[in-house]
């Protein structure tokens, strides 16, 4: 698939932005700046990047508890994200959601979700709206290998199929659900094999190769926009860190396995390819990295200097037009 120079730069910038955000977030969490837990997705960058490269603000994505990469690939602002995780009023959700519930509806990001499998039907719903409105937009549902154990995946895929909805199911198979390996918890080796049972195409994609993801996603999204229904994309990928910031993955993963995956890191992978094919050079990529490093540093400063939400915000946004929460019962 032809990729324009702008899109190539965007692919690299986005992947590096995700990587740097996650690395810095882990540092900041270790310093106690976050008010909760951090589920980082470093290692998995190529997936959301390659997919969201084909999306606009009018398209919607559903996400998981591990949603920072999804946010960033969808164009969500890193300063607003960092402020949200620091629990600040300038956060995307006014500090009311935190890392596991970051959302930005101006960017078509339906929100990170802490209940496994709960975000899947939401993206199907976005596709349903798209079909009702006839506006050509699509929904993309991100979920992990662990989520394929939930009933919602079955119901969502069946629904999307019988209603021929413009939704793309993207399984980020990072081979672990917390400490539970995919070979134990999932009844098939290639989860995409299940797509046939729902009469939709299923493709297995190297989730460490943003070009492979870009190609597969382009086809699936075009299908959806043309009204030809859903597709299931399985990304074989890997999270470098534990389930959350304080989880030591060496209690259930072997270091040799981690090394194998790190040898296929999407960033050097990309760098090698574009240099070989004379599409970008190291100077340009270094400039991008420096800019992003500064951007993330600025995001941290912004988050640090921002105020906390006022107590009144505890009571707002429960409903649109009703409030039954004055002071609780005290």
């Amino acid at each position: 698939m032809e990729i324009t120079p702008e899109k190539l730069r965007w692919l690299y910038t986005t992947m590096y932005r995700i990587r740097r955000f996650e690395e810095v977030l882990l540092e900041q969490t270790a310093l106690g700046k976050s008010m909760g837990v951090a589920h980082t997705s470093d290692g998995e960058e190529a997936g959301p990047t390659g997919i969201c490269a084909h999306l606009t603000d009018a398209d919607w994505i559903g996400s998981t508890h591990r949603g920072h990469g999804h946010c960033i690939a969808k164009g969500v602002d890193t300063a607003g994200m960092m402020a949200e995780i620091f629990g600040k009023y300038t956060g995307l959700c006014k500090g009311k959601g935190g890392s596991m519930h970051i959302a930005d509806f101006t960017k078509g990001m339906l929100g990170a979700n802490g209940i496994v499998g709960a975000g899947i039907p939401l993206a199907v719903g976005a596709a349903l709206s798209a079909k009702l409105k006839g506006d050509g937009s699509v929904g993309v549902s991100f979920f992990g290998d662990g989520a394929t154990g939930e009933g919602t995946i079955h119901e969502s895929m069946n629904l999307a199929s019988v209603w021929k909805l413009p939704v793309i199911f993207v399984c980020e198979n990072n081979h672990y659900a917390e400490s539970t390996p995919v070979e134990y918890a999932v009844s098939v080796t290639d989860i995409a094999d299940r797509a046939a049972s729902y009469s939709m195409p299923g493709v297995v994609v190297d989730g460490m190769d943003v070009f492979a993801v870009y190609d597969a996603a382009g086809e699936a999204i075009a299908r959806a926009r043309a009204g030809d229904g859903p597709t299931f994309i399985e990304l074989k990928t890997y999270r470098y860190h534990g389930h959350y910031h304080a989880d030591d993955p060496h209690t259930y993963r072997l270091p040799e396995e981690e090394e194998l995956w790190k040898a296929r890191d999407p960033l050097p992978n990309f760098e090698r390819k574009v240099i070989e094919q004379d599409l970008m050079d190291e100077v340009e990529m270094e400039r991008i990295r420096n800019e992003i490093d500064q951007e993330i540093q600025d995001a941290v400063e912004f988050a640090e200097e921002s105020p906390l939400p006022p107590i009144e915000e505890l009571y707002t946004d429960v409903y649109v037009n009703y409030s039954n929460s004055v002071q609780g019962l005290r």
């Binding site: 009023y89 906390l308 505890l314 609780g328």
Partner: protein
Amino acid sequence: MTTTSRPNPLGPGFDVPGSEIRYREAFNKTLGDELRRDPDVFVMGEDVAGGAGREDLGIIDSWGGAFAATKGLIQEFGADRIRDTPISEAGFVGAAIGAALTGTRPVVDLMYFDFITVAWDQLLSNAAKNRYMFGGQGKIPLTLFARSGVAAGYSAQHSQNFYSMVAHIPGLKCIAPSDAYTVRGLLAAAIRDDDPVIICNHKKLINMSSFVPDESYTIELGKGRYLRRGADVTLVGMSYTSEVCRLAAELLAAEGIDAEVVDMLSLSPIDEDIVLESVVKTNRIVIVDEDTPRCNMATDIAAIVADKAFDSLDAPIKRVTGPHTPVPYSKPLEDAFIPSPEDVVATTKKLLGA
């Protein structure tokens, strides 16, 4: 947690061999005791061992559950009885119900109380109703445990206390231990009980220590206990708010107000008698519930008191609860959500016209 010399009517009391251990260790110890005691008992849930299926790689027991409730058990009891599940709450809770109906005694780790709704239909439509609908055929000796409550930025979907929804359902039982001593007795009782019992382990209690007897014991379901005797007002707590009430009573004592603290322990079956006995004596009652206010346990208890102790009341029944909102993430908002000892003190003083 105060271990006073006042005899505790529940369990063996404190003058027996034992030690100060944390809630989580008492839980783990008791699970081991029950697994040893009855070969039909088994545990299942996500990451209850961890690293499932990787024994050949030398990986076993990598997590032992989300708060190490099951750590060290798979080595003794094996992977059949300490069974990791895929993330399929409706599926494995339903399977647990079916297993219970057909002769085994499953203990299910649901990890977070909030996830109970993923399995809700199985609990509501099957666990709660099968015995009744089938005219007494079958019993469901299912035990289900999960961490509940507000703490440390877990945010809206991992911080809830809606145990009143469980207590509301005929056919389900619900308990809320308040310290390491009570969780040991209540967990044993729940596992030995032939009805489905849901146990709420409040996150803020998990690392708190109290005296725990070495030997196995049960605390009868449906019995509350006094944490403090007093004359001026009854404070009723449940789960972590029993600790909140205990702290509030200390603050009140410094101001010359003598509060009695009732620790409910059991939400269904519920100990009405201890609440009524106390309010008949003190004539004023404050019920503290970390849950949101509509249709919560505090409201249920208030109705019981209004009905059965009306003539004893010198003042309206007060409830101190969270607000009618989801639990927010940012710390100042989260702190404002939680009913604190200071909130209880303020409400109590207003109640006493002080």
